[in-house]
Point group: C2
Amino acid sequence: MGKTLKDQMGQVIVPKTVKTPPPAVILVNPQLGQNIGGAVRAMLNFGLSELRLVAPRDGWPNPAAVSMAAGALNVLENAKVYETTEDAVADLTYLMAATARRRELEVPVVGSNDAGAQFRAWQGAGHKTGILFGPEKAGLTNEDVVLADAILTYPINPAFQSLNLAQAVGVFSYIWASSEGAAPPAVFQENISVPARREDLVRMMEHFEVELKNAGFFYPEQKSALMKRNIRAPFIRAQMTEQEVRTMRGMIKALVQGRGQKKVK
Amino acid sequence: MGKTLKDQMGQVIVPKTVKTPPPAVILVNPQLGQNIGGAVRAMLNFGLSELRLVAPRDGWPNPAAVSMAAGALNVLENAKVYETTEDAVADLTYLMAATARRRELEVPVVGSNDAGAQFRAWQGAGHKTGILFGPEKAGLTNEDVVLADAILTYPINPAFQSLNLAQAVGVFSYIWASSEGAAPPAVFQENISVPARREDLVRMMEHFEVELKNAGFFYPEQKSALMKRNIRAPFIRAQMTEQEVRTMRGMIKALVQGRGQKKVK
């Protein structure tokens, strides 16, 4: 439909006028149907309508969600259910995780006053975006958070941090709506015209991890989860393009095959 | 306690360093205890702790509020209950009403991106502030709204405007917290050093209305509520000082007594 442009290097640029949807809200392992319903109502209040659920505890559909959704049933009915967080974010190119700062992860933090402009910059450039919210009690796992380009933090009272899930989604939805017309963020990298989809990044990292495992890299075994998170973070943070992901996979392959050849005694 | 200053006219100025509390949240005729509890939890999440209730439908205390308040029981227990909105705002000097724009009322509208800075400017100048939220179904009456200096609007989806009460309070609480350090609003009238408390304004207007009624001004009778609202709005909007309120009452009295003298045939 939309016209495509090419920059001086011949790379396709997605025109700024392409209409892409607002961020998808992704609830990871939500526990209470009433929170899903409350979240959906607040989303639609502020113009968001794409809900994704990762393995909701009480199955799906959920009558408790329906009763709290009030007039926002459309959003509930159109919700998509996934088995894993990776599946739920596969088609996205920009992803935030709503959670407290994690000192143990090298994931950049975006304050709530800047998050809306950040999303609008990506949306305006034609990209699909989303935001992760964790389950009520435990919150997002580190494995989920390292899938995100940035952590979104709220200016929360340190003495009482336990935010209800529906409220957390409501505040984000407000942040989105109130950022209409906001100036684009200074750090937005406009020149990343074809960022990799999250799925391609995950496949690349899995490829890397499999080969590292074969090479005996993950030692001791009990530290392998931590090591994998630390490996993933910089690749997400780099906001790699499709081409860079392909190149990286070629590099991994080359190292493995080269090593194999050298091993021949 | 705090030192007082005087300006060139000898008027007392409240020093900027006086520590005044954040805005009070005033729920007018709330219906569901769970919404009161949800509101309280979100308030404390974002650093607000003063709750006032005007004639809650199911009485007070309310067990349904307790179960939704999670760890914010202190805020619930310290809530004050009032019979009327006027009583609940009597000691405040700056008041907003969270509601949609009312074309029939001449009450200025403050957008949600500016509301936090506005509250902080008043708070920083040593004034007590508050915000009104209406009951779940009907929302605030026009009589409540004309008590406010400004209407706070959210950037709501026109196709789905029905915001849950606890969510509405949660979004306001976030707006408050996220405005820390915001630049003061351009329109803030720093020179109003001793604004009248809402109670004094209400008494002045009641005085005015009684005398107008005696004078046969409210005709036809069925339009008197509308006429009273229209009379009140500009006095609130003027952000009158204590002295101006006293002067105004003297003016009303003078007119009435003067008229009485002329009536002597």
